[in-house]
Symmetry: C2
Subunit: 451 residues, 2 copies
Amino acid sequence: MSDLQAVFDYIDAHQDQYIADLQRLVRQPSVSAQGIGIGETAAMVEGMLAERGFDVAQYPTSGSPIVFGTRAGASSKRLSFYNHYDVQPADPLDLWHGDPWSAEIRDGRIWGRGVADNKGNLVARLSAIDALLKVRRELPLTVKYIVEGEEEIGSIHIEEFTHAHRDKLDSDGCIWESGGRDDKGRMEISLGMKGICYIEMTVQSVSEDVHSSRAIRLPNAAWRLTWALASLKGPDERIRVKGFYDKVREPTVAELAVLAEIPDNSEGEMKRLGIDSYLLGLTGAERIRRDYFEPTCTISGLLSGYTGEGSKTVMPARALAKVDHRLVPDQDPDEIFDLIRKHLDEHGFTDIEIKAFGNEKPGRSSLDSPLVHVVDETYRELTGNETIITPTSLGTGPWYYLNDALGIDGCTAGAGHPAASVHAPNENIYVEDYIRHIKHAAMIMDRFATA
Amino acid sequence: MSDLQAVFDYIDAHQDQYIADLQRLVRQPSVSAQGIGIGETAAMVEGMLAERGFDVAQYPTSGSPIVFGTRAGASSKRLSFYNHYDVQPADPLDLWHGDPWSAEIRDGRIWGRGVADNKGNLVARLSAIDALLKVRRELPLTVKYIVEGEEEIGSIHIEEFTHAHRDKLDSDGCIWESGGRDDKGRMEISLGMKGICYIEMTVQSVSEDVHSSRAIRLPNAAWRLTWALASLKGPDERIRVKGFYDKVREPTVAELAVLAEIPDNSEGEMKRLGIDSYLLGLTGAERIRRDYFEPTCTISGLLSGYTGEGSKTVMPARALAKVDHRLVPDQDPDEIFDLIRKHLDEHGFTDIEIKAFGNEKPGRSSLDSPLVHVVDETYRELTGNETIITPTSLGTGPWYYLNDALGIDGCTAGAGHPAASVHAPNENIYVEDYIRHIKHAAMIMDRFATA
């Protein structure tokens, strides 16, 4: 580790520069949902990779360009990093304590939209590459750097990109964009992401709203929608769509075993949310198992008729619901969409129209890949702290397309922390976590080269 | 009828004056929902009654005052008129072809907010009283004139008023505010109004909206509401609240018999609303029976979570529904409210809060009262047209409090027509219908005096 010590020393000596690099990227707004700063930010990231000797280019899509660069290293091993340069909108602005685009440092933290998700990790890894190159003049392995600009709006073009450039994307492992430590310094290593099938359900029962006195004989859009929704899932939380669970992959013994090591944070969450128990009264191991291995069917929105103060005696002609299904391997969002359509038709709800938004497949990597061992081992060595291995994140991302579909194992690692306020006002990371992640990324590259 | 002919001649000769009286009242806005012009309009109506020699006063309430006046007549018989001086808001203004408060006359119609509902009827009856007094110097019977100012917001203080002034309200019959003819000139005589139990259902499942990836373990307000609603009524349209139908009064043989005479306007309505069939596929007599004798449970509004464009991956903490129950005799809205609360509790929905808005009891008068005979017979004589007798209106009003509770029989009669656009832009009545209703009101008073 003597050689790595020189890299760590270099990192410590150049902290100001690496922090300034991150501040520069955070100060460049890049809101994909609003089309703000996308071209400028892609060019900036491309420049940062070029400065580090990467063979880099922007791959245009009909949305944000994908920045992809490669630099060969000492061993034949290849490691990919998946990041994204786009961020969430900064709204609501009045809840920020400072300017979301200032990247100011206060109380040991860097504050700004996107600093945790995921410009901090993006620049930390580039900083590790910089330090390795400065100290050793070469990287320990081939590094592939994939930076998309639509992660916050459903990674719309990643699948298309991976199909078109499959040859360039071959790798021995992939470090993911997100990740961080808990309050006790334990870093979570996640091995997958849930998929999503997000649908909008609409129904128009008559041509216009009518006085509710006539509802005795007319079809009511709100009732049609209510009954259609109630046919999808009941209070037992079992999804009633025929075939919905058919492709759910059984957890392996190893996957079930790691669940026991996952800390139970239920008490804090229940207190924050003002509830006495979780759904179905589940606790402990069974609650945690469901979290990671069960798909969901969640009403995200409902709208129909009159929703203001007091009463309006109307029978609504139209009703709308948004329904979010989180999927687990090996469910396929397109198949799930078709099953829902079929279910509605078979239950007499041919009048309910459904439309899909941003389907993504679920992905999950192996628990015992060399990459996971390296990330786990190096974190423990670097910090003296434990890690928490989870079979999957509960969130959704393009894991499947970049890992499962290409036969690549992935895992997360990062500079985040529990109060990072991702997707919320006052997003931040600790400077200390940022510097640690630079060192951790350098260690991962070094160790994985010979793993 | 020679004497009445003199009254009719007087009416014909003074048409301009009676139309001007109506225009003056329509030009005075009186929107109870917005608190506009209530005091001014009450004073104007009080003045019109005083001019006709009524012993009249305003009865203050915590809302709009009720104007009540009496004038004794030749016989000991007493006839009441129930009207209201308040009107619906004029919005949406941009859909009116003219100023809603101008009361302009165009194409043989008087246009303006409230002209049909119900300032036209209100002034027509006052005009009939005027003509009778001018020609005969006395009324044929005692007339009681009740004019409230909150009909459009649920007749909030009528029950309180009838309790406090029961002695003044005794009468042998009551002519109601609404009514009119169909396209073939047949006047509908309705004998009741449905009651209403309008509730708002709300649920808060967690303290704040959370990311939908966490919905796997958390209670979702939108699901709770959906299941609670689905427990109230299924696609068979049968309301599942225990005891809901217990007090539904069976239609009498006579009531069922008049159904056969009610014209079936289903084809036109279905075409206008773009539907091929009514609820449950009902047609003919059974559809019409349900219209008049069955209570309803209608979702009037739904709101929860994200309802904008595209997708937002949120699990809603709050959800809201508005549910409108139309009741038939002898259901009681307060009892129905309690039954719904009990139903929710027994079905595990103690988390759903419910709140009542503007409960009103259903009321229904006898089919063969002297008043109905008089109204029916005089209309046929006056116009040579048929009437359509319906056991009840499908709408709601304070019928119970002014009739059933006081032992008074009531029925409707009026100047309306099918395209009067009540509660909508471009409300109107035909001048011809207005003058006819003045004459009809005079005939009713004359004939009922000796009925």
